[in-house]
Amino acid sequence: MRHHAVPVLVVLAVVVVLWYAGALLLNFDVARNLADENATTWDIAAATMSQGRPVLPAPHQVATELFESVFMHPVNSPKSLVYHAAVTAFAAGVGFVFAFVLGIALAIGIVHVRTLERSLMLWIITSQTVPVLAIAPMVVVVLGNVGLTGLLPKALIAGYLSFFPISTGMVKGLRSPDPMQRDLMRTYSASGAQVFRKLRWPAAMAFLFPSLKVAATLALVGAIVAELPTGAQAGLGARLLTGSYYGQTQQIWAALIMASLLALLAVGVIDGARLAMLRARGGRL
């Protein structure tokens, strides 16, 4: 960890410097047009750092916007970014749980039933090469027609997206015990259920956590994109959309950073679960 700290900090510092430079360059034209005649170049440059709707908001502007929208409004008001983040995170979470249960169930089926494997595996793999996110607007509109709005369409899309990595990862994991180990179980005359509980399932855990991380990010992306087509009232996707309609760049950046923080939080939770399991198993996954 220490080994990485200095280089990471240096790279981050370079990014921030470049960001400020970018803000100066990109906002300069607008600032010059807005400035009065006897403004010096220095004045204009200073103005690029504090515009209302900058082309590229400076890092401190984004930080201020983030701070204000997180801490300066009550959590349940639509002005609070925490509120929007919670709406999106909840939809993504519900979808993720769906996907978790279904993905694992399907993987178990595929590993044990040959017909399922032969019929489904190719389609599951193919579906990963397909931009499934494209169906989001349609799902939202169709479910809206039958009277389902709000959480459910978003959770469905989030779940649908995160389902595939979980099921493919688990199929790989449940198959990962090598023939020697399975032969050993056979010499113990273990039943199918015992092989599953004592060999396949524990072996699959090493594959489960990486796919869960991918799935969590996808669930979040799915929930955000599902908020776009209806012009949703709440959620990070809605913040992105209204921000882009009204040119509120700071709002977009704040929502983006919030989304990234959510993704990091999800990955962190999954890593925590992995570490807990690692410890419970004495350091081997």
């Binding site: 080994h3 990485h4 200095v6 280089p7 990471v8 900090l9 240096v10 790279v11 981050l12 990109l26 082309v55 590229l56 040959r114 017909t115 494997e117 032969r118 019929s119 489904l120 595996m121 190719l122 389609w123 193919t126 990963q128 090469t129 397909v130 931009p131 996110l133 494209a134 169906i135 607007p137 349609m138 939202v140 509109v141 169709v142 027609n145 039958v146 991380k213 990010t217 979040l220 992306v221 955000i224 994109v225 776009l228 087509p229 990070l236 992105l240 959309l241 921000g243 882009s244 040119g247 760049t249 977009i252 950046w253 929502a255 983006l256 989304a259 990234s260 993704a263 990091l264 990955v267």
Partner: protein, 278 residues
Amino acid sequence: MSAGLGLLALALGGVLVLVLLARGPDRVSAVATPLAFGALVLAAWEVFCRGYGVPRILLPAPSAIAAAIARSLPVLAADFMQTVLRSVLPGWLIGCGAGLLAAIALDRSPFLRRGVLPLGSLASAMPIVGIAPIMVMWFGFDWQSKAAVVVVMTFFPMLINAVAGLDSTGAMERDLLRSYGASYPQSLLKLRLPNALPFIFNALKLNSTLALIGAIVAEFFGTPIVGMGFRISTEAARMNLDVVWAEIAMAAAVGSASFAALALVERAVTFWHPSFRS
């Protein structure tokens, strides 16, 4: 009632066929079973839609979708031009190329590598599509902004995979090249890059899907009146679901075709790799 019976018969007969096919000889069943399953799903979908008179605005039947594809071929072609050829392709090429160059730079400098790699893997866990509205603001409504989103989305997977690939060379092989007195460019071109090819192709394939998603989602944020993402969102809002499904079918075909094409190129280029040697 008759629709219910039809579905039931289809389900029972279909399961029987699938079970029989799955038990058949390996070479036949590996191809025939998934095809039969796909056909079964399409048939059940058609029977379901017709039998119960499902309204077009909820779920068009496969035949209606096929008709929509045939009817709107010029529109589909225009959308393909705009989204795939103008946005996805340049973005994918630039993003993958930049990722590869950055990976080589990281490979040369251990300091950069320690600094950038953790941030790169962080970035790949982030919902990068979210930058779409910003790119639309910067680069305008046309394909440039979509290509920009694609560049950013494809950069990090390529960076991480290519670094891992350049790293995968064994110490023995590196020592051998050193004993030949090979220069850095020589060892890069003759050993490290070829060795990294499987990783690079992995990223290329992954990125081909990501690029399509990026371009389509970016079109939801504003676009000229052409493009797959634009068509999907506007026709969905106008309840022309058969056209939406036609676009989705095209997106699926493009995604699978580019994946398959890359897999073929990979086979041809990395024929020496153990995973392709029988």
